[in-house]
Amino acid sequence: MIDSKLFLDKNKTVMFGIFENPEQFLDTVSKVHHKGAQIIDCYTPFPMHGIEKAMGLKRSLLPVGAFICGCIGFLTAATLQSYTMHFDWPMIIGNKPTVGVSYVPVLFEMTVLFTAFGIAILFFTRSKMLHGKMPSERIDFRQTDDRMVIAIATDNNAVDKNELSNMLFSGGAVLVKERTNNGYEDFTEVEIKSAN
């Protein structure tokens, strides 16, 4: 695995295999990964189970972030309630303690609130998602509809380019193409093989 930011680096060459059958796609991804080729990323219109293993992706660390956000929420609620109800202006109602179990509902709600917003913000940041951002990695307009795309780095690759394109094509790709990045949003695309 290599980092996906290489994808946009100048003078890098990337080979794309475009598929229409999810089962064949998954098999091919697994084969390409086991062959030792560097898969930059894959693009699928729906969450495909098992593909992260086929690509060799690591488990996301987002749950750790969620836990930290939850703790911050809990501490915020505890601080807010004890400061306002106990320290700043002790509010004694019915002779009940100013710190007590009545804090629990707000502690819970704020923990959930901070976790949810925290995880969403972390997710958007980690995935470089932003409102209005142009989808820079759109290889095929149908990759959000009914096509699946595998992107493989072909510079200094362990696998020969011809062998790789044959592998993709025999695996069921409808189109195999290669793209060289000449600079900001300037690409040279060469179609290698097409089913039609």
């Binding site: 804090y103 976790t115 969403a120 209005g132 509809d145």
Partner: protein, 450 residues
């Protein structure tokens, strides 16, 4: 990769492929609105206008325009608040709890149910906000802002304040969950867009989504975490709403059974409203292959189970009142069933406990027009439940000199009917501009995916 069950029928019928799913679900967004949509939207918008008018009168004249009095300080306002919050419970239940239980039938209905949650909570929020009277200074009363005259803060011992936190957390977390689920589908619409306006707006809200597996991988983790935290959240919200009543000393409210009873009632009414909307939507939008009879049947079973649970709670309340030996409690319950509001009590019993029992019969669970009729009965019954709890408990005091009757004014009726206008206007806009069914998730459960 796909583990097909041999005994279970397909969740999506009609032998569709991936492209069929995309184009069929995107159809309402990409075409001009149908006549039925226009008629429905216009009627809803008129009721929304009624809401604005009656809220305007309330603000201009004051709370005196409502039928509340010295004894019944909570009437239709809080009845409607609890009614709408309850309806808002099905969405998160379907998307969070059913996700944790790996119930794949949720996938065709979770989007619209989540949308309903958000719109229902918006409708609910109107009532307590306007009940405060001067809502422009409401920030001091509901949020922990320091008082201008000294360090007097809001009271965190009060269940009413817990409710502010619960409802606002529930609304915002549901919104995040809903939007997150929408992003891949918004990107699908973006990539098919032909007009400049659609290209711009769907591009704006799709946040650059490309369907990258790395992003999907994180997305699945985030969905699971959100589902994990939303599950206790959805249970906590109606628990806290029930504490608004249960922590008081009013006979008929001071009951420890309230939290589970309210949660069951919320799920019951939420599913009732989901059925009302989806039985119509699947027909009008031609989504019978996605929201199948199997989906309706599963929801009917939930309605039957939760209806029986609330029915059991009604009877348990009676038993506890009798067994406690507290005559105020006993009187409160006898008065409910035989007092001046007996008709509300028996409407509630008939609609919530007796009517859903027809779902023991398969015919009743699989006939859409019948399900629709019964879902209306459930909605009516659950509204009466809140009316019974609130008004019949309040209209009798410890001192008979405080005994009064309560009836709503035209303004209150207008606000209630208008809240339906807000709800349905939002739902019609949603069905026109966003995919009503989760395209990406439905693609994952297709059998023929070529």
């Amino acid at each position: 990769m796909i583990h097909d069950s041999i005994i279970r029928p397909n969740l999506v019928t009609g032998d569709k492929n991936l492209h069929d799913v995309t184009s069929e679900i995107c159809r309402p967004i990409e075409n001009k609105p149908s006549v039925s949509w226009k008629v429905g939207f216009t009627i809803s918008a008129i009721f929304l206008g009624l809401l604005l008018l009656t809220l305007g009168i309330t603000l201009y004249v004051g709370i005196g325009t409502w039928g509340l009095n010295k004894t019944v300080q909570w009437g239709w306002d809080i009845t409607n608040f609890v009614f709408w919050v309850g309806i808002g419970h099905a969405g998160t239940l379907i998307s969070a709890i059913l996700l944790l239980f790996r119930q794949k039938w949720r996938m065709s209905i979770n989007r619209s149910a989540e949308a309903m949650t958000i719109f229902a909570v918006m409708c609910a929020a109107i009532f307590p906000l306007f009940h405060m009277g001067r809502i422009w200074v409401g920030g001091y009363w509901v949020f922990p802002l320091p008082n201008a005259f000294g360090s007097l803060w809001v009271n965190f011992h009060s269940p009413l304040l817990w409710d502010v936190f619960a409802i606002s957390t529930y609304f915002s977390v549901s919104l995040v969950f809903w939007y997150l689920g929408l992003i891949p589908d918004i990107a699908t619409v973006r990539d098919r867009a032909t007009t400049a306006g659609r290209k711009f707006w769907y591009n704006f809200f799709s946040m650059g989504w490309t369907g990258s597996v790395r992003t999907w991988n994180r997305y699945e983790v985030v969905s699971l975490i959100l589902a994990g935290i939303s599950t206790p959240l959805v249970l906590s919200v109606h628990t806290i709403v029930s504490m608004d009543f249960a922590t008081s000393v009013v006979p008929g409210w001071h009951t420890t059974i309230f939290p589970p009873y309210f949660v069951a009632g919320a799920i019951f009414s939420g599913f009732g409203m989901v059925l009302t909307l989806l039985v119509i939507a699947r027909k009008v939008m031609n989504y019978q292959d996605y929201i199948t009879i199997g989906h309706l049947e599963a929801m009917c079973k939930v309605v039957m189970l939760t209806g029986t649970m609330v029915g059991l709670a009604y009877i348990t309340e009676f038993f506890v009142a009798a067994y406690s030996g507290v005559e105020y409690e006993q009187y409160a319950f006898i008065n409910r069933a035989t007092g001046p509001y007996w008709w509300a009590y028996w409407s509630m019993m008939t609609c919530n406990l007796i009517a859903p029992q027809v779902f023991w019969f398969k015919w009743a669970r699989t006939t859409p027009w019948f399900i629709f009729m019964l879902s209306i009965v459930v909605n009516v019954g659950m509204w009466f439940e809140r009316f019974v709890i609130i008004v019949t408990s309040l209209h009798r005091e410890y001192l008979p000199s405080g005994w009064v009757m309560y009836s709503p004014t035209l303004v209150e009726i207008g606000i209630f009917l208008g809240s339906f206008g807000l709800f349905f206007t939002c739902f019609f806009l949603f069905s026109k501009f966003l995919p009503v069914i989760n395209i990406a998730e439905v693609k994952g459960i297709l059998k023929n995916r070529e």
